[in-house]
């Protein structure tokens, strides 16, 4: 799969990339702010978009909203977030496919993504 990862924390991005590329065998492109995430998501051809919620320029929820409005064929969006309050979770599930709570375990990251994608297909 070709995945776009938007995450402002450099270390977390590195870990996520390692897990997704080395263990999941995916191809990952990484951006570090919301504005770039939106540009690349609209320009590139990805199978999945992973969005951090708290990012510089534009936050994750807003990026997702704009992406879905502007894209002709929007791809599934999954949020990565440390916010796990009920209201936040509902917003993630309403706008995107779902969310993966931080701190996440890189060993099970691929599995979580597969589960979320399957739940959508079902």
């Amino acid at each position: 799969m070709k995945i776009l990862l938007a995450e402002d924390d450099h270390n977390i991005s590195k870990i996520a990339c390692l897990a997704l590329e080395k263990m999941g065998g995916h191809q990952v492109e990484w951006v570090s702010d919301g504005k770039m995430a939106l540009e690349r998501a609209l320009a590139g051809d990805y199978d999945l978009i992973l969005l951090d919620e708290m990012m510089p320029e534009i936050n994750g929820l807003k990026v997702c909203e704009l992406y879905q409005q502007q894209s002709s064929s929007p791809k599934p969006v999954i949020f990565l977030s440390a916010k796990s309050q009920e209201g936040d979770v509902k917003a993630f599930e309403k706008i995107g496919l779902g969310f993966i709570a931080k701190p996440f375990d890189p060993m099970t990251l691929n599995q979580s993504i597969t589960q979320l994608l399957e739940s959508k297909a079902a």
Partner: protein, 449 residues
């Protein structure tokens, strides 16, 4: 005179002086009226007694005495002198002279009566007039007093009261104008100062509350972000991302991972507690069957119980009961109390969860273990933050030290009570109560979506 008291004093003194004057004049007239009537009566009495004298006009001593007594009370002096001269003639038996005097006396009396009856008529009218005038003044006085009172007291108090209501309902729209310089004006000014103080304090509290919310959200993000990297790296290393690991490295990585997990739990617990204490944790309550609640908790603790060789026992003395709760939160409380009970139980023992229905109190959950028990001194502290019962009898069991504080806060958020009964050496029973409950038989459970 600026004060209401002064104004009321002036108008009341005026009314008092007026009524005093009127009363004085009508009293004078009334007294005059009374004395006139008395004099006329005396004259009549005299005439009557004189007419009762024997025909030879020889009065006996008793008759003379009575006549003299009457004479003493006569006014005016001229009238009195005339009668006393007549009585002297009577006493000295000068019949002729006496008869002449008697005739004059009768003529004078007729004249006296006629004149005085006119005067009495006039006095009666005067008294009536003064009384009427008094009544009119009284009515006008009261009307004036009422208007003044309304204007100076009632209306300003009503205005102030409506401003207070405005303030109470958070309508700060009114102007803080300058109030009048009297007692109610001062009250008004004081209220204005009070309101401004309250408004500024409220603003201050709001900004403090906002600061606390901001802190919570920043802390949760800033603390979790580095931990995400630490935990992720450890997990990848342990998973063999960096190549084969020897035994010692694996063990050390395990320790680092366990401790970072503990740090994450601690952060989550602290943030939970801060949220509950700030009232920022809204409860979404539904009716939940008590049986389901206990069974779900048992299932989640099965692993822990098995590894500790402890049996979980459920005793329900309140069949078919549902409670109105936030299921996740009460589950959290039960899990906390039960996992504590399992941790402190000796191997091969059992932990008993009991549900009891108590009238006027609600549903009571009891978690009983047969561990070492808790010292009475520790019992007081155990629900406080970062307190764990420790000491020679109690090995420290790993935890954040916040579990019971969170349990307490959550139960209290449900308007319930939490506590424990324990004797060292005889185990502990932790309990909590829930107020809102009902029997399930008449209400089928509707699962919340």
């Amino acid at each position: 005179m600026k004060s209401i008291r002064g104004k009321l004093f002036i108008i009341l003194s005026f009314l008092f002086a007026l009524s005093l004057g009127l009363n004085f004049f009508s009293y004078l007239s009334f007294m005059e009226l009374k004395s006139k009537r008395e004099q006329i009566q005396l004259g009549n009495q005299l005439e009557l007694e004189l007419s009762q004298l024997p025909s030879n006009l020889k009065a006996n001593a008793t008759q003379l005495n009575s006549l003299k007594k009457l004479n003493q009370r006569l006014t005016p002096p001229l009238r009195k002198a005339g009668v006393s001269e007549m009585l002297t003639h009577l006493e000295k038996r000068r019949t002729g002279t006496f008869k002449k005097h008697l005739k004059t006396f009768k003529t004078n009396e007729t004249e006296f009566r006629r004149f005085n009856l006119n005067r009495m008529d006039y006095l009666e009218k005067k008294v009536l007039f003064l009384m009427g005038l008094g009544a009119v003044f009284l009515i006008f006085g009261f009307a004036a007093l009422h208007i003044l009172f309304k204007h100076l007291v009632i209306v300003p108090i009503r205005n102030l009261s409506s401003k207070m209501l405005d303030f109470l309902h958070n309508r700060y729209t009114y102007q803080f104008g300058s109030p009048s310089n009297d007692e109610i004006g001062h009250l008004h000014a004081n209220f204005n100062s009070l309101a401004q103080r309250v408004i500024s304090h409220t603003d201050e509290l709001k900004s403090l509350d906002q600061a606390k919310s901001d802190f919570l959200s920043i802390a949760s993000h800033e603390l979790r972000t580095p931990l995400t990297s630490i935990k992720g790296s450890l997990s990848l290393l342990k998973g063999g991302m960096g190549g084969e690991l020897n035994e010692v490295t694996t063990e050390l990585l395990g320790i680092a991972e366990t401790e970072s997990d503990r740090l994450i739990r601690l952060i989550n617990d602290l943030l939970d507690l801060a949220k509950i204490e700030a009232g920022k944790l809204p409860l979404s309550t539904i009716w939940v069957p008590v049986d389901d609640l206990i069974k779900t908790t048992f299932n989640s603790l099965q692993g822990l119980a098995q590894s500790a060789s402890v049996e979980l026992v459920y005793e329900n003395a309140a069949q078919n009961v549902q409670v109105m709760i936030d299921k996740d939160r009460i589950q959290q409380v039960l899990t906390n109390l039960m996992s504590n009970a399992v941790k402190f139980s000796p191997k091969g023992d059992c932990v008993i969860a009991k549900v009891i229905l108590i009238e006027n109190e609600g549903i009571r959950f009891e978690i009983k273990d047969h561990g070492k028990g808790i010292d009475p001194e520790d019992q007081k502290l155990i629900f406080q933050k970062f307190r764990q019962a420790s000491g020679p009898n109690n090995p420290i069991v790993k935890g954040t030290g916040l579990g019971l504080a969170i349990a307490k806060a959550l139960v209290e958020e449900h308007q319930g009570e939490i506590g424990l009964k324990s004797k060292p050496g005889e185990g502990s029973t932790f309990f909590f109560t829930l107020k809102e409950w009902r029997f399930a038989s008449t209400h089928p459970v509707v699962e919340a979506s």
